[in-house]
Amino acid sequence: MTYDATTLVLEGVSKCFGGTVALNDVSLTLEPGQVVGLVGENGSGKSTLMNVLAGRVVPDTGTVWFGGVELPPGDLRARVRANVGVVFQDPTVCPDLEVSENIMLGRPPARRGWFRWKHLREQAQDAVDASGLRLPVHKRLRDLSQDEAHLTDVVRLLARDTRVLVFDETTASLTADYVERLFTIIEAAKADGVACVFISHRLDEIFRISDRIVVLRDGELVLDRPAADTSEPEVIRHMVGRELSGRTRRRSVDRGETVLEVRELRSGIIQEPLDLRVGAGQVVGIGGLVGSGRSTVLEAIYGLRPRSGQVIVAGQVLAPRNVRRAVGAGVGFVPEDRRNDGLAMEMSIVANATLVEAASQPMLRLVSRRKGHQVVASMRTELGLKAPNDGAPVRTLSGGNQQKIVLGRWLAHRPQVLLLDEPTRGIDVGAKAEIYSLIDALAASGMAILLVTSELEELLTLSDEIIVLREGRVAARLGEDATEDAIAIAMAGTAPSSAEASIQG
C-alpha cells in the first residue's frame, strides 16, 4: 500500500472488553485536509477506536498506519513522534503547571536540564497567537476556566505541528462562544493540511464541520459517506440501526391497572415536567439520542438523582433520592453501564446474582449458600444462563450472560416495576433474542416495564407506547402508529441545525 506521507489508516481493528465486543473489524482512513465527523451512540466504539489510534488501548487485532509506517500498538511516544494527537473529553492538562508549560508539555526549551522560562513563555505565546486565541500563558492552569483549559490542550497539539488531530467530544463541555472558536481552529488546521476527526453527539455540529461522516454502531462501521451525500435522519437511522430481524411487533395490550405513575417529573436535563403512566403488563419505551435525558428519567424514578414531581408505584408515593424505598416498593433497575454499575466483575456469579437479596437483608443475617445456588440454578433454566460454575468471577462470562445475571437478580424479587436502561447493549444477537423473549414474558406476567434503548428496532418491537425525548423534552408520544421514520424525525427534531446542514450539504 502506498499512502500520502500524512495519511493515517486504521486497518481491521477489533477489541473486546471482558466479553463485550467494543470494536469489530473497523477500518478507517484519515486524509490530510479533511474533517471526518465520527458519530455513534454511547458504547458504539468511538472512544475505543480513538484510544487505539492514540495508543491508549492495545487492540486485539488490527494495525494503525501513518504515512505507510506502522505505529506500534500502545506506544504513546511513537504517536508523539509521528505528530498524531488526540484532544480527549477531559482535557489532558496539568493543573499546577503554567499555561505556557502545558502548551510546551513534553518538549520544554530546557538547556542541560535547566528550565528556560523566558523562551518557554515566548514560544507558548507564539503558539497561542498563531491559533488566534487569547490565553494568559503565565497563569497557572488551575486558575483558568474549563473552556480555556480545554483550548490549552488544543493549542498544545497545534504547537507541535500535529498532522492528525482528533477532537473527542470536545464541544460537549464548551460554551457556545468557545465552540465557535474551536471551529475556527479546526477550519484553519484543515486548510493547513491536518487530518481531523471530530466526534460529537450534536449532529448539527457534525454536519457543519465535517467533509465526511462515519457512523459506528455496536463496534462496527455502518456508514462512511461524504457529508454532502447524507442527511441527519439517515445518519440517525444508521446510528440506531434498522436491521429488522423479522421479529414481529408486540401486540399492544390494553393498559391494565396503572402500576407506575410519574407526575410532573423534573430532574437534571429534564426541565419540562414529564408525565407518564405504565400499566400492569405494559412496556413503555423511551427513545432519544444521547443527552436527550432518557437515562435521567429512569435514574430519577429509581431515586439515584434529585428530582421534583411525584413518582407513584401501586398507589404508594416514593420519596426522592431513596433507592431503598424504591426497591421496597417493588421497583427494579437494570443500569446502562453493566460493567461499572451493574456488576462486581471480580466477584462470583452467586454473589452478583444475589446482590439485591444481600442489600435487603439485615447486616448480620447469615448468607445462605444453598439459596444462592438455587437462584443461579433458576437463572440457568429460566433465562438460559450459560456459566461454567457458580463460583467463577462474573468477568469470565460473555456480555449476554452477564446481562442475564443483572436482569435475573430482580426476578427472585418479583418487582412490580422494572426499569431497563439499554438492556441489550454490547451483547450478541442470540442473547438479545433471549432477553427480548424474557421482557415479553415478564410483561405478560403483569409487570410494568419502562425501557430505555438507543436501538430503534428494539424500541419499536418491544414497546406498547413510545415516548421520544429530545434535549430534555418530550418530542413525540407514539402508539401503534409508530414507525422508524417517525421516531428518527422526532429524535432529530427541527433544530435550527438542520437548516444549516442543508445549506452546507
Binding site: 513522534r81 489532558t92 483558568l144 474549563q146 467530544e169 454499575d341
Partner: protein, 341 residues
C-alpha cells in the same frame, strides 16, 4: 459508581468552572497560599507558649527546637517531592536506621570520614531507587512496595549487630560527622544550615529544572504527561532516588548527633513527616506542593511537641496528638480541594 457514570454522560451537568474571585470568604480563603492555615495556628500557638511558658522564648530552648527540626525537615523535603507526584515512601524510618548502620560499618572497616559521608548518602540514594524501580518499572503500588521495604530495611539494619547500636566517638575523623550532625560554625548550627540549604535547593530544582517541572506534570495529570511523551516512570524513579539521598543526608546528621549507628531509630518517623507535609498544604492528591508550607509544617510539629513537653504532657501522649493532627490535615485538604459544592 452510578454517580461517576452520570458525570460522564453528556447531560449538561454543571462542570467546575472558574471561581468568581472574592465572591465569598470561602473563595478568598481558597486563593490564599495553602499554608495559611498552619501559619495561623502556629502563630497562635507560639504566642500562647510565649505568654504562658517563660522557658519557651529562651535561646537554649529555641536553639533546641531548631536543631531538632533539621532531620525531620530533610525527610519532609523528600516526602514533599514524592507527594507532589502522588506517592508516599513509608520506609524512610527504616531507611534512616539502615543508613546510620552504613556509617558505622564504614568506620568499622576504616574508611576515611568524608568517604563514610558519601557512602551513607549514596546508600540512601540506592535504597530510594530500589523503591522507585519497584513502583515505576515493575508497576507495583507505592503503598505495598514501601510497606514491604519498611520491614526489609529495618530487618537488614539489625542483622550485623543483632539489633544493638554501634557507639562511635573515638574513630578517626568522626569529628567531621559530629560537626555535621551537632556542630556550630560561628553562631550557625550546621545541621540547620544543611537542612535549610537542602530546602532552598529543592525549591530551585522544582522551579528551575526540567525534572522539577516534570514532577508537577506527572503529579498533576499522569495521563497528560504520558501523552505528551514524558518518561513518567523515569521521573518517578528519580523522585524516589532524591528522597533516598535526602534520607542518607539525614542519616549522617543523625549519626553525628547520637554518636552511634543505630538499627532502632526512626521507627514511626514517616508519620510525623507526612503529617508535617500535609499540614503545609501539599495536596494528598498530587500535583500541588509547597516547600514553604512543608517548612512551616515541620516547625509546627516541632513547636507542638516542645510545647506539650513544657506544659507537662507525657511523651506517651504525643502519638495521640501527632496522629490526630495528621488526620485533621488530610481532612482539611479534602475540604479545600473539593471546592464549591
Amino acid at each position: 459508581m452510578i454517580d461517576s457514570a452520570l458525570a460522564t454522560e453528556a447531560d449538561g451537568l454543571p462542570t467546575r468552572g472558574a471561581v468568581d474571585p472574592g465572591s465569598s470568604p470561602l473563595d478568598r480563603l481558597r486563593d490564599a497560599p495553602p499554608w495559611t492555615g498552619v501559619a495561623t495556628v502556629l502563630a497562635v500557638m507560639m504566642v500562647g507558649l510565649a505568654l504562658t511558658q517563660p522557658l519557651f522564648l529562651t535561646q537554649v530552648n529555641l536553639t533546641n527546637v531548631a536543631r531538632g527540626m533539621a532531620i525531620p525537615l530533610l525527610l519532609a523535603i523528600g516526602a514533599t517531592l514524592l507527594l507532589t507526584t502522588g506517592m508516599i515512601d513509608l520506609s524512610i524510618g527504616s531507611m534512616l536506621a539502615l543508613c546510620t548502620m552504613v556509617s558505622a560499618g564504614g568506620f568499622h572497616i576504616g574508611l576515611p570520614a568524608p568517604l563514610v559521608v558519601v557512602a551513607t548518602v549514596l546508600a540512601g540514594g540506592i535504597l530510594g531507587s530500589l523503591n522507585g524501580v519497584l513502583v515505576a518499572k515493575v508497576g507495583l503500588s507505592f503503598f505495598v512496595v514501601t510497606l514491604g521495604t519498611l520491614a526489609v530495611f529495618r530487618s537488614v539494619a539489625q542483622l550485623p549487630t543483632s539489633g544493638l547500636s554501634v557507639p562511635l566517638s573515638n574513630e578517626r575523623g568522626f569529628d567531621l560527622i559530629v560537626l555535621l550532625g551537632d556542630g556550630n560554625i560561628g553562631p550557625l548550627s550546621v545541621p540547620v544550615v544543611i537542612a535549610v540549604g537542602s530546602l532552598v535547593l529543592a525549591a530551585v530544582v522544582l522551579r528551575w529544572t526540567n525534572l522539577g517541572r516534570q514532577v508537577y506534570a506527572v503529579g498533576g495529570n499522569e495521563n497528560a504527561a504520558r501523552l505528551a511523551g514524558m518518561r513518567v516512570d523515569r521521573v518517578r524513579v528519580m523522585v524516589f532516588a532524591v528522597n533516598g539521598l535526602l534520607v542518607g543526608i539525614a542519616a549522617v546528621l543523625f549519626t553525628g548527633r547520637i554518636q552511634a549507628g543505630s538499627p532502632l531509630i526512626g521507627a514511626g518517623i514517616e508519620l510525623e513527616v507526612i503529617a508535617a507535609v500535609l499540614l503545609g498544604g501539599t495536596s494528598f492528591l498530587g500535583g500541588q506542593s509547597s516547600l514553604v508550607g512543608t517548612a512551616l509544617g515541620v516547625l509546627f510539629i516541632a513547636v507542638l511537641q516542645n510545647g506539650l513537653t513544657m506544659v507537662g504532657v507525657q511523651t506517651l501522649w504525643q502519638g495521640v496528638i501527632t496522629g490526630s493532627v495528621l488526620i485533621l490535615a488530610v481532612w482539611v485538604d479534602r475540604v479545600r480541594s473539593r471546592g464549591p459544592a
